[in-house]
């Protein structure tokens, strides 16, 4: 399979391919920026997973005495207008960002893969129809599409994921469709057909794995843009509603009112978003170089 078939190449380049650790170490040395990106993404996932252990306080507990408290020993990143700990809110915010980012990418991915596979494999009128629907969906910029979707669904966590996932579908479907089209005629697929393998099984067992490389590259890029889109939607008031500490929401409304007295309210959530997206972008670039040598940057 395409992704892991790098061992020979790695060995030629002098990597210790006998252990996974050795491979990772080699790749990290070869793609230092990608390694940084991977670290950031891991840190992000770790924070989201263990938010309840990392955050020193409850992200929703208000405290009048510490309204707009400066960053210090008690509130590491300061407190917001309601006296809620910013650090804890940012830590829990990672959970929301991951939920929306990964949720939307996954949902968009699954839908896109299904549609793309069917479209490329079945061809005919089905292909024609889905291609036109994809055309329609791609005739609006991502944020505009997500905005309209989010507004028609109403603000909630699930709806936001859905609103961001749908606009991601066409690009996934297109990638999968085009690789399916070229793979359909490959000898190994014909061979599978010759031995009487069912079409669905062929698609899932043989065609899908071979489209994984471009898919992973695409998914990494989409993870970043899903996180950014969530932030923008929440900033515009159409994303995640208040009980959830969303980074984008923290930057809108009341936080922005206190930019002068409490700049930390604006700086830290913004840093959190930027850093996370930066990490996914670094990782995505490196993955593309590794997995998809034709598009090497």
């Amino acid at each position: 399979m395409a992704i892991i078939n790098h061992e020979a190449e790695l060995a030629r380049a002098g990597a210790n391919v006998s252990s996974t650790g050795g491979q990772i170490l080699f790749l990290a040395r070869r793609y230092p920026l990608g390694a940084v990106g991977a670290l950031i993404v891991l840190l992000f996932i770790f924070t989201a997973a263990f938010a309840n252990f990392i955050a020193p306080m409850d992200p929703t507990t208000t405290n009048a005495k510490f309204s707009l408290a400066k960053p210090g020993s008690m509130y590491w990143l300061g407190a917001d207008f309601m006296g809620r700990d910013m650090f804890s809110r940012i830590v829990y915010g990672a959970r929301i960002s991951l939920a929306v980012g990964a949720g939307a990418t996954l949902l968009g991915g699954v839908l896109g893969v299904t549609i793309g596979l069917m479209s490329g494999y079945l061809g005919g009128w089905f292909d024609l129809a889905t291609q036109r629907v994809m055309d329609i969906m791609q005739s609006l910029p991502l944020l505009v599409m997500a905005l309209v979707m989010a507004a028609s669904l109403g603000p909630s966590l699930e709806n936001t994921i859905f609103a961001i996932a749908i606009p991601l579908v066409p690009s996934v479907a297109r990638v999968v469709r085009s690789s399916t089209l070229s793979l359909r005629e490959q000898p190994f697929v014909e061979a599978a057909r010759a031995v009487g393998m069912g079409e669905v099984r062929i698609a899932v067992r043989h065609v899908l794995p071979n489209t994984l490389a471009p898919l992973i590259v695409l998914a990494t890029a989409q993870l970043g843009s899903a996180i950014l889109t969530e932030a923008s939607l929440s900033f515009l008031g159409l994303g995640i509603p208040e009980p959830y500490p969303s980074w984008g929401r923290m930057l809108s409304e009341s936080a922005a009112e206190y930019v002068r007295t409490a700049p930390w309210l604006v700086i830290f959530p913004g840093v959190a978003i930027s850093l996370t997206v930066f990490g996914t972008n670094l990782l995505g670039d490196a993955l593309r170089d590794i997995l998809d040598p034709r598009q090497r940057t």
């Binding site: 929703t60 507990t61 208000t62 009048a64 005495k65 309204s67 707009l68 207008f81 309601m82 006296g83 109403g154 603000p155 008031g237 509603p241 208040e242 009980p243 409304e253 009341s254 922005a256 009112e257 206190y258 930019v259 002068r260 007295t261």
Partner: protein, 532 residues
């Protein structure tokens, strides 16, 4: 030579007489920031400061609260389009003698017919074809208005069903402009005409409102300003930055919260800032039809759990006012005295004791720390509603109530509330006039549209009617206080605090008099002038 001098002198004298305060300067454009897009320009159709503050300057009332007084009081009402007024002996007929020679902005003359048209529309007596208004949020104000009759072009009489001393106060509010009979509703909503000191030059949605001086204003020499430019800036931080940077001469009314006030003073030391109550109170809507809030003791436990201080400290840095249904004195004209206030549930100084009592009630009903009552607190999904809701949720934890915030899209908030599709709600109630009739009839009378909790208490209805007809001010206050007390004890919209916020302007802007018991009054702008 001598004659010329004399001519100059008499000219000067005439000028002095024409503009009594010699110091005022004519001219200039006042630039103000606006917080959001006004839903329309038609004051009678809306219930928000977003409409009143910019558009009150386009109109006149029959009578108005004295714009030079900080406190709106029934004793300080002055003529506007009416030169004088009189009551008949049994206090049911109010006759106004109107000013003559007043013209609408389109040049047509103002007459008593316009007054009749306006109040016929407001009391639902206009004929079907009338298009002056399509929404009427203050219908309850005119439940007692039987008929408006035109005596002559300059005389009009309001006939009431029973004596109602507050009626004149309602007519004096910013919410009671006189509309032109010949106007179309659509025009009133987009580019209204009035008789007031400023004409609407342009109302660009989401962008700006431009008012220009009405050169034919019936008050000679007024207004001083050439124009008022409102710029709609939805983001509060951008508005504040704009004021600090001198892009605006004045902030939107009550736009400056206390944390921001400190900031503005630090940035712009010469800014004149005046904090005042906005006569908007934060209150809790308890749906009595949603179990377990159908039990009065649960409602009582909820009220006892509230500690007003953190709300006040967080949201107002301790500057908000503690009061019941009416704005408390000294700013408020009708509110109950402090000693009485402290006897109400939720107002006790020892919160821990109240909460212990509340916990006992909850325990009696089978709730405990491990088995809390789970509820949803619904509120409008905008910061001024959400912030207190978050604090409320935090406080309910103390009495075994585990609440979750349910932010409602602002577009469907009232629809949802009206359907009683909520358990607890965090609500803001603003009062156009500091007056018991408007407060009680709008919010607590059993038949009112705006009685969001469907509070039905025949005894309260009777008391409300009773105070409304009471001519003796002191006797009436006693009944008002009794109503306030009963409402608090019934957990009918328990009031948390009465908001206080500041409005700031540049020292070059003169003649600003903010009214301290209603933000909805006093925005005619005709006496303001710019010293530059």
């Amino acid at each position: 030579m001598r004659t010329r001098l004399a001519a100059v002198a008499s000219g000067l004298a005439a000028f002095v007489i024409a503009s009594p305060a010699f110091a005022q300067k004519q001219g200039g454009t006042l630039r103000i920031s606006h917080r959001d897009n006004p839903p329309s320009a038609s004051i009678h159709e809306e219930a928000t400061i977003s409409v009143i503050q910019p558009f009150m300057a386009v109109f006149n009332n029959l009578v108005v609260f004295d714009p030079k007084e900080k406190i709106n009081s029934p004793d300080k009402i002055v003529p506007d389009l009416a030169e004088s007024w009189s009551w008949n002996p049994d206090q049911t007929k109010l006759t106004f003698k109107l000013r003559s020679g007043v013209k609408w902005h389109d040049g047509k003359p103002f007459t008593a017919k316009d007054v009749k048209c306006t109040w016929d529309a407001l009391s639902g007596k206009a004929d079907e074809k009338s298009d002056l208004i399509r929404k009427n949020p203050r219908k309850v104000w005119y439940n007692n208005l039987k008929e408006v009759t035109v005596g002559s072009d300059t005389e009009v009489t309001f006939t009431l069903g029973r004596p109602q001393p507050s009626f004149l106060s309602m007519l004096a509010a910013g919410y009671s402009p006189v509309y032109a009979c010949h106007a179309q509703g659509r025009d009133m909503r987009s580019k209204p005409i009035g008789t007031g000191p400023f004409k609407v030059a342009d109302f660009k949605r989401n962008e700006s409102i431009k008012l220009v001086r009405n050169p034919d204003y019936w008050k000679k020499g007024l207004p001083y300003l050439d124009a008022i430019d409102w710029k709609i800036v939805p983001n509060r931080s951008t508005r504040m930055l704009g004021f600090v940077a001198g892009e605006f001469d004045m902030t939107f009314d009550s736009d400056v919260t206390f944390p921001l006030l400190k900031d503005i003073k630090a940035q712009k030391a010469d800014a004149v800032c005046e904090p005042r109550p906005s006569n908007v109170n934060q209150n809790i809507l308890i749906n009595p039809e949603s179990p377990p809030f159908d039990k009065p003791e649960v409602r009582r436990a909820l009220v006892l759990s509230i500690d007003q201080k953190p709300f006040n400290d967080i949201l107002f840095q301790g500057n908000a006012l503690s009061g019941a249904a009416m704005l408390p004195p000294p700013a408020g004209f009708w509110g109950m005295p402090k000693e009485m206030l402290q006897t109400l549930p939720g107002f006790a100084s020892d919160v821990e004791k109240s909460r212990a009592e509340a916990r006992k009630i909850m325990e009696g009903l089978g709730y405990s720390k491990d088995k809390p009552l789970k509820v949803k607190v619904s509120t409008r999904n905008i910061a001024i509603y959400r912030d207190p809701a978050v604090i409320l949720i935090d406080q309910l934890k103390h009495v075994y109530i585990e609440a979750e915030l349910d932010p409602i899209d602002t577009t469907v908030w009232y629809t949802k509330v009206q359907r009683k599709d909520y358990q607890l709600g965090m609500n803001l109630t603003g009062l156009g006039v500091d007056d018991p009739d408007t407060a009680f009839y709008e919010n607590f009378y059993s038949t009112s549209d705006r009685n969001y909790t469907s509070y039905k208490n025949p005894e309260i209805d009777k008391l409300i009617d009773q105070q409304s007809a009471e001519p003796d001010r002191e006797k009436r206050k006693k009944i008002v206080w009794e109503i306030e007390k009963k409402l608090a004890e019934d957990g009918a919209r328990p009031v948390i605090v009465h908001n206080v916020a500041a409005t700031c302007w540049t020292p070059q802007l003169k003649g600003v008099v903010l009214q301290h018991n209603s933000i909805y009054n006093g925005w005619r702008f005709e006496d303001m002038w710019l010293d530059r």
